[in-house]
């Protein structure tokens, strides 16, 4: 029997079904009393803070801050919901299907944080797919992660839940360096949690020195051809190296973009047979399944919430 014809399905950054998700549109620190123009799913908005008190701090710091007004520019509807959280201003263009997920380190006073951002033509879906993918460390990030042997799916486990995908990965990085006990390499137990549409939280534990850290990748699909990647870098206050971690995260992101920006079509592929997958790609496959279910869910009625403020 001849093979069944397959249809390639690619997710556009400005797909209308993404309007039911929360998306960041700016860092809080970048929004002041002067209007700031932003773009989301191809629509333009003006952000104006109704005062000068900015929510810049970590967690519950800056409890008193001034709200932000989001005004559509052009024929766009007023967004259904707006909030300020995790150092970002968030917009749901239609009634959001989910609440924002919890990022526990953000509200932990034992942590401090910083948010870096980078604009790229790579789609939001491909950026999330890349962040969930640990098997490219030994090629694309050989220098940054200090791993020369291939990262395999050993120590790799996936849990697909109705609203999230959780990947745990136990491996050794920096294998050319000795740890405090004289062993080569540094064991890292990582837990990645993905929520639709474009949020992935990474929690890391390093058993040798009993330390933790976290990083969250959140993507703003600006338009069909542009995405802003935000990386929340979360480090315990006992670790003085927040600036170093921000530099490291930026270097890793730039290494990823160096190859992803060479893709002829940088959209996320949702059809299962267009690309080849192996068992080492389970996180990628489960992420695509969950995102596809999110996109397929029936849209809710959009209430008229003109003038909603964060």
């Amino acid at each position: 029997m001849a093979g069944a014809a397959t249809t390639d399905i690619f997710l556009d950054n400005d797909d209308a079904r993404l309007r039911r998700a929360w998306h960041p549109v700016a860092r809080s620190v970048d929004v002041g009393p002067e209007p700031t123009r932003v773009q989301l799913n191809g629509d333009a908005y003006a952000l104006t803070r109704l005062g000068s008190r900015v929510r810049t701090g970590h967690g519950d710091e800056d409890a008193e801050y001034d709200a932000v007004e989001v005004q559509p520019l052009g024929p766009t509807l007023t967004p259904a919901a707006v909030q300020e959280c995790y150092g970002l201003l968030w917009v749901a263009q239609e009634e959001p299907a989910h609440e924002l997920p919890p990022l526990p380190e953000w509200y932990d006073p034992g942590y401090h944080s910083a948010v870096l951002l980078e604009r790229t033509p790579v789609s939001a879906g491909v950026l999330i797919d890349n962040f969930l993918d640990v098997t490219h460390f030994s090629y694309l990030h050989r220098q940054s992660f200090g791993r020369s042997r291939p990262v395999t799916d050993d120590g790799y486990a996936i849990k697909a839940e109705p609203d999230r995908v959780v990947l745990t990965h136990d491996t050794v990085l920096q294998e050319g360096r000795r740890d405090q006990e004289g062993h080569l390499g540094q064991r890292r137990i990582a837990r990645y949690t993905y929520w639709p549409a474009y949020i992935t939280h990474l929690q890391m534990y390093f058993p040798v020195d009993d330390t933790e850290a976290a990083a969250t990748l959140i993507c703003q699909p600006e338009s069909a051809t542009s995405t802003i990647a935000y990386v929340l870098v979360l480090v315990p206050r006992s670790d003085p190296g927040l600036a170093d971690q921000v530099d490291f995260s930026r270097r890793v992101l730039m290494e990823d973009l160096a190859i992803l920006e060479r893709m002829a079509d940088p959209r996320l592929c949702l059809s299962p047979r267009t690309e080849l997958h192996t068992r080492a790609d389970r996180a990628s496959i489960e992420m695509r399944k969950l995102l596809s279910r999110f996109l397929a869910a029936p849209a809710q009625l959009t209430p008229d919430l003109t003038g909603v403020r964060a």
Partner: protein
Amino acid sequence: MTAPSRLAGPPSSTADPAPAAWWPMAIAADVRESAPAPLSVRLHGTPWALAVMDGRIRALKDLCPHRRVPLSVGQVTAGESGEMLQCGYHGWAFAADGLCVAIPALGDGRVPRGMGGTPVLHVVERDGLVWASEGEPATFDGLGDEETTLLPPAVVPAPAAACRRQLTGSPRHADGFAPIATDQPIRFALRPITDVTTELFAVVPSAQYLPARNAWLELLDELSSAHP
């Protein structure tokens, strides 16, 4: 100089390009200089990675079937059964025949049965050029000989058929001779990069290099002017 049995580019009909034509892809020395990194070249809009593997130039589709990044971002490395082109993203590697021979994330030497690979082109090196054919290729006599000199290739913003028409008087001209008034004609071959862009390769008689080259450059200028 004898006419070649078939030169790249001339289609058997304007709607159905000959599948077995030989297309000039690149200067062979440029591909070898680039090694171990491949050179990416487009043919009919499709990118091909030209890579030196075990001394021979090969053409593999410039798209890793795993996550669709260009294979030309990777490089040629040693494999158990010969050199292979390794993707720079996850290290998937492909042999000269396009078969996937390594998936490092699965452990050493593990490639699932029936994994497939990436398409390849037939390739020959002749006259200092890399020629490729998308199907079972026709016999090939080459473009130049010891009495000719290869000119630098040129990209013009015009469809291949328009280039042929302007250079030969016929969009279906079959031998790639440009009617230039020198003692011997300039011979050229072309490759459709896309539907609207073409790369042209030409050889001129070494004995009349300067006038022939200048005449060729004038023709290219006319081509570019006609298709701004």
